[in-house]
Symmetry: none
Subunit: 97 residues, 4 copies
Amino acid sequence: MTDDPNPRAVPGDNSSQAVAPDRLRAFLERIERVTEEISALTADRSEIFAEAKATGFDTKAMRALLKLRAQDHAQRQEEAAMLRLYADALGMGDIFG
Amino acid sequence: MTDDPNPRAVPGDNSSQAVAPDRLRAFLERIERVTEEISALTADRSEIFAEAKATGFDTKAMRALLKLRAQDHAQRQEEAAMLRLYADALGMGDIFG
Amino acid sequence: MTDDPNPRAVPGDNSSQAVAPDRLRAFLERIERVTEEISALTADRSEIFAEAKATGFDTKAMRALLKLRAQDHAQRQEEAAMLRLYADALGMGDIFG
Amino acid sequence: MTDDPNPRAVPGDNSSQAVAPDRLRAFLERIERVTEEISALTADRSEIFAEAKATGFDTKAMRALLKLRAQDHAQRQEEAAMLRLYADALGMGDIFG
DNA sequence: CCGTAATTAACAAAAC
DNA sequence: GTTTTGTTAATTACGG
């Protein structure tokens, strides 16, 4: 909106340099490291699928099974959350610690 | 990883047992484990973004920067591969160790 | 995919008219009509939530219940798809018609 | 679905029955019905976008146009409301019918 | 009004 | 090659 005569070094700090380059760089590098790990694991998973396929399994069916199992887990999670919600509503939230 | 005591229940053979349940289960569990790790790391990354946001950075800009850096990196990789290709063609592949 | 030997005033051809204004306008208006209906229904839903809240229900709990019910339905859908997958794999896909 | 013969089980009263299950169910079902309609219309809209895309239009540009048009419309609405407000203030509210 | 949470579309990847 | 499928980004809606 308005001109800021003070380029800032730290977010919220109008006193010095650009945009806190060091902190920003640190955040970016942390993110990049995690992203690399994710990529490596994704590649691992693809390899497992390939191996299963090579031994004769149908990956489409496998994916369907995985989805079902994941849904089961999500359902349980949600039900546990419901239980806690009820407990809270009844003023017994502390029964879960 | 383990011996299958029932060699008839092989994948692709639906004439005997079901579909080699043990092997299938092993594959599914390996995949689920890796998937869990991926989920955990993805959550970690989200936390880092949240932390950066909390300290005043704009996550949208950060994402743009990350994309640029990834492109740079990919480009460097490609250039390095090209260099190596040329060096190999000149019988100097060993200069890279 | 390649050269179009017939230079009509089709979308992607900016050599003649603008960009097929009439067709574009028709699409936009259809979308706007549907969007309006969606907005109206969304408002209806909000009203129902408000009414339930006014009669003493906790909307948070209601949302949790709705989510559970939706998961149930999705689960059933997925299981039906699995059944079909198995049937296909056993060469009995036709039992579903 | 059925009448609740126990009028004490009102919402907000957890001293008697559960949580007025019938009323709650009715609310949930109304919401689910509306949600289904919303989903159907959303699917319709996606189809229209797909159709436009298939005839060569750029959906991203279309979305930008729709946003502009919506803004125009909102602005007109606001101006009309302002006009009416002024007319009312001047005791001429009836000029709009 | 803001921040969070859910939905939806765009993009990218991988299967056949 | 194309056609899903999965991931990421952005819009939108809800509650505080």
